[in-house]
Symmetry: none
Subunit: 199 residues, 2 copies
């Protein structure tokens, strides 16, 4: 993942400063505060932040410039967002919690950590209780292990296989069968880039 340019970093810092405000700022406001005259130029930067997964894509809505979970500065370690299991949505951890992750186990991009529940990926060496480091992005290559949201309801950890017209999610456990879905029903929320276990 590509790191931010200085100007994009400026914008991100500015947006972080705005996080406390009641409304997200409009593009014109940001332009004024950042000394820009053209919304177009600013929007280009925003698009870069969206691509970096730091800002929620705002499909035309007003005052939609919102930071992603992952954009919250990682003082030390990555946010532990919750638990993930087959067949259930991510169960958020109650208190905001962070976990130290070695640089080798994460990417440059925005990452977070989930605790794995269940044994649906056990043949791939991801066991109950393991932590997985997830890079937040909305696309994946075939064969990658992804956090996939089906019908905006069930978040699962599965190996993905994308073919024209069908998305197949493979659990890595002989006891479970792969499931086929229409591509429109599956939203990729992130890709597993690392894994840790404590004994």
């Amino acid at each position: 993942m590509r790191s931010l340019t200085p100007r994009q970093q400026d914008l991100l810092d500015y947006l972080r400063g705005c996080a406390a405000e009641e409304h997200a700022p409009t593009l014109d406001t940001i332009c004024r505060d950042m000394g820009l005259r053209s919304r177009g130029s600013l929007h280009k930067h925003i698009r870069a932040l969206v691509a970096a997964g730091l800002v929620e894509p705002m499909g035309g809505q007003h005052r939609g410039v919102r930071l992603t979970q992952a954009a919250i500065p990682d003082e030390d370690g990555l946010p532990l967002l919750g638990r993930i299991a087959a067949g259930r949505p991510i169960e958020a951890v109650t208190h905001d919690s962070r976990i130290q992750v070695p640089a080798a186990l994460r990417t440059q991009g925005p990452c977070y950590v989930l605790e794995v529940r269940g044994d649906s990926m056990s043949d791939d060496g991801i066991l109950d209780g393991d932590w997985v480091v997830v890079e937040q992005r909305d696309h994946a290559r075939n064969g990658e292990v992804v956090v996939a949201l089906v019908d905006d309801e069930e978040a699962t950890l599965k190996r993905i296989e994308q073919r024209p017209g069908v998305v197949r999610l493979h659990p890595a456990n002989a006891a479970y069968a792969p499931l086929d879905y229409h591509p429109g029903r599956v939203r990729i929320q992130g890709v597993v880039v690392g894994q840790m276990r404590r004994y």
Copy 2:
């Protein structure tokens, strides 16, 4: 790998000093700080560092001079001693190398890291290429995964079961059978306390 020329070493030292900065420096900045007048000359040195695997190749991007993982000195990390596989002694890594390990994955005691070779523990979620964090000690409780030295020759990663008069080493792979030894033949070198994997 060819060793660095003095000037290349200067550059590397300078870049390490920059690592804490928010943005990577531009070539012009480096030139100024290193007393050079020509970006071209500097770029030649950078290319040498890229060839040495110490700097990420930056395909035309601005501020792209970034150090590779290998070039960032991990003062605080655990030593990566080598690879371990069933049936062979630990194969030492050539150059002294350290790896960052989160506190949650290690114990208070002396620890080191081994890279796993082979699939003899795959049913326990320890796969080929994984790193295991090992606490150095000479005893273990039954059921722990240990680095065991048999006959002072073969170091293996196995789950241990100690009974009066016999030590049984269980691989976690249906393809291999557990092996029984006389307690005198088996020396425990450490116990696995953590595991990490990069995708």
